[in-house]
């Protein structure tokens, strides 16, 4: 598929460093080692770490990371601000329960179905959304959240209406049931199995976005974001590019919704309101817009916020302790999300990813200096 330049040639020809990256799933030895380590960690970590509370937190973070990766494709890479991501996550969640629970099909069917259902709606909405620019799209996507919540509340046969529905779809892949994982004589708790499932999906989508963004279609998205008219003059077809971003973004959102449904075991239409979109937006802004690891870092960070507020709720001022005085933990988290969004946008618009890179550069100066030195 891709032309593979042998490493020796690449080393001599410094110009090739700036050429288009090679089209491979993982493009360097360090990358391949990274993937191997990631895979080992995903399996080894939960099996040696039995604290179900913290595993649960990490599982929510993983799902939020996947959903945020979807939003990152649209907002970060393609430059389309969307407040409607929760709508697609919601469609994925209810589709997963319908296909996996009511129809009783296995995960190999319901998980892709969740993504496809969201992507179909995304594709249907895209032509309208793409006529709009900037704030208009943001508002229309906000409308989408309101409309999807309204629809979901009014089709009780699928969604359980206002009260919501239990999720009976099973997280099974062939003989492996992630909810009741057992290897030989050892059996594991639900959180441990779900951790393996969720974080494998995180890894899968990391690989997917990294590679899509290196392709022609992915680079076209970024070109349209940076200067749409210039990109069009250069032969990028704007409509198609943005529609691609929309469909990919909503597909990922749908899959995240499916995982969210099985992880929560109980879903209600009202849970997928604007506040969820806000959380995803906070994740990608804090983590780093248009960066690969941004959504993962952001998700870990943002998921920790309510947990930390909970832990310190006794010593923090203004927090509710029963009754309606003071603010709830949710309020406190919202306040912190908002504060963090503002601080990051003003002080470090590239997010946590840039912060970490700067720290790393300080600890270990970048190798570039050595390469460029006259020899």
């Amino acid at each position: 598929m891709a032309v593979d330049v042998s490493p020796g040639v690449a080393e001599k020809n410094s110009a090739s460093k700036h050429a288009a990256p090679k089209l491979r799933l993982v493009n360097s030895r360090a990358g391949r080692i990274g993937v191997a380590v990631f895979i080992v960690l995903i399996v080894a970590f939960p099996l040696n770490f039995g604290d179900t509370y913290w595993l649960g937190v990490l599982n929510s973070a993983g799902i939020a990371a996947i959903a945020a990766m979807g939003l990152n494709v649209l907002t970060g890479y393609a430059g389309q601000l969307s407040l409607g991501h929760a709508a697609f996550v919601s469609i994925g969640a209810f589709t997963a329960q319908y296909v996996g629970g009511q129809l009783g099909l296995p995960m190999i069917v319901w998980l892709p179905a969740a993504g496809i259902a969201a992507a179909v709606v995304g594709a249907a909405v895209a032509p309208f959304a793409l006529r709009l620019h900037g704030p208009y799209l943001a508002i229309v996507s906000l409308a989408l959240v309101a409309i999807v919540v309204w629809v979901a509340r009014n089709i009780p046969s699928i969604t359980g209406g206002n009260e919501g529905t239990f999720v009976t779809a099973e997280a099974t892949l062939g003989p492996i049931n992630f909810a009741e994982l057992s290897i030989g004589p050892l059996s594991f708790v639900r959180e441990q199995g779900m951790f393996i499932l969720i974080w494998s999906m995180v890894g899968l989508f990391l690989l997917l976005t990294a590679n899509v963004m290196r392709t022609r279609a992915g680079r076209a998205m970024q070109a349209v974001r940076d200067h749409d008219i210039a990109a069009e003059v250069l032969g990028v077809r704007m409509m198609r590019t943005q529609a691609n971003a929309f469909v990919l973004s909503t597909f990922i959102a749908g899959v995240a919704g499916g995982l969210l449904a099985v992880n929560l075991e109980y879903i209600r239409p009202d849970e997928f309101g604007v506040h969820l979109s806000v959380e995803y937006l906070a994740i990608i802004v804090i983590g780093g817009l248009a960066s690969l690891w941004g959504p993962v870092l952001g998700a870990l960070f943002v998921t920790m916020v309510p947990v930390i507020v909970d832990i310190f709720s006794d010593s923090l001022p203004f927090i509710q302790h029963g009754g309606t005085d003071g603010m709830s933990t949710t309020d406190m988290s919202l306040l912190l999300y908002g504060l963090l969004i503002v601080i990051f946008l003003l002080a470090e618009p590239k997010g946590l990813v840039a912060v970490i890179r700067r720290i790393r550069d300080r600890v270990r100066p970048p190798r570039k200096a050595a390469v460029n030195s006259p020899a």
């Binding site: 601000l81 309208f128 943001a138 409308a143 309204w150 509710q320 309020d331 003003l346």
Partner: protein, 296 residues
């Protein structure tokens, strides 16, 4: 017939509140190019500070209302100076996200002081009713409609005849040329935010007094309902804000009464959005907006 007129009157009053909130969005967007989502926060702060001054400090209602409007205007101007001015002309979505962050921070601050229960500002209007023929209109609705008319008229005069108003228009039209003519962009930006803050606070007070929706968590969501209004009217058109507000208010009020059963639960909440989408399909720039010509 009488019943329909009654609903119409309620709709016009609701529409006036939407129009005032939308006007706040439009003024900031017109003068600074920023799409200011923090408007919802101004609504909440205006309502709660009136509650504080009127019910807890004990000032008369009108004094409390004026003081809180001034207070929120000041808060808005400070926000512009501290957080928004730096990124106002950056790219498209940074300022939107910053104002969104501000929006998220404002309601929790209120619940830190006054909790999450339902409060009431009281009933400054008395539930008195004015009768025109067979139609009964509450005094609150009359007050809302009259004040809206006055505010819109004052704005029209301000923009057309005062030096500052003209400076704001000039900045909106061509920031650099205005700067070259000696117009301070800082002053204009801060002033437009202060006006938006005042309008938001006023809308909040109207919503929170008796006959409105009450004072409690979620008040900021009413400001989000003003978003379809400005899309409907055109994002930079004050006239559009007023007309759009009235259309949305009236249609929503009718939807509350007539469409509740047939279209499912919560239909009235999505009506403004459905209306907006229908308009956008035909006229993406809104009813009164001008199509942007883009040059390379």
């Amino acid at each position: 017939m009488t019943e329909n007129l009654q609903i119409l009157a309620g709709g016009i009053s609701l529409g006036c509140v939407f129009a005032l909130l939308a006007l706040g969005f439009v003024i900031v967007s017109k003068a600074t190019g920023v799409f200011n989502l923090a408007q919802g926060g101004f609504v909440v702060w205006g309502a709660y500070s009136t509650y504080f001054l009127h019910q807890q400090v004990g000032l008369p209602f009108y004094v409390a209302a004026v003081l809180s409007i001034l207070f929120v205007a000041l808060v808005a101007a400070v926000m512009e100076a501290v957080a928004v001015h730096k990124v106002a002309s950056k790219n498209l979505y940074t300022p939107i996200l910053v104002t969104f962050g501000l929006l998220m921070m404002m309601p929790p601050v209120v619940s830190a002081f006054w909790g999450t229960g339902q409060l009431t500002i009281g009933d400054p209007w008395g539930l008195k009713v004015i009768r025109i023929g067979e139609v009964a209109i509450t005094e609150r609705n009359v007050a809302v409609i009259v004040v809206t008319l006055i505010v819109v008229a004052v704005f029209g005069l301000f923009f057309r005849y005062t030096r500052l108003g003209l400076a704001m228009q000039a900045t909106a039209l061509d920031p650099e040329a205005a700067l070259a003519q000696g117009v301070s962009d800082k002053l204009v930006h801060r002033l437009s935010w202060a006006i938006a803050g005042a309008l938001g606070a006023f809308g909040g007070i109207m919503l929170a007094t008796a006959g409105g929706v009450g004072l409690g968590p979620g008040l900021e969501e009413y400001a989000l309902l003003a978003l379809p209004v400005i899309i409907l009217g055109g994002i930079e058109s004050p006239l559009g804000a007023v007309v759009g507000g009235l259309i949305v208010g009236i249609i929503q009020q009718f939807a509350v009464v007539y469409a509740a059963e047939d279209f499912g639960v919560g239909f009235e909440e999505v009506v403004p959005y459905l209306l907006m989408i229908a308009v956008m399909l035909v006229r993406p720039q809104g009813l009164f907006g001008t199509r942007k010509v883009r040059r390379i």
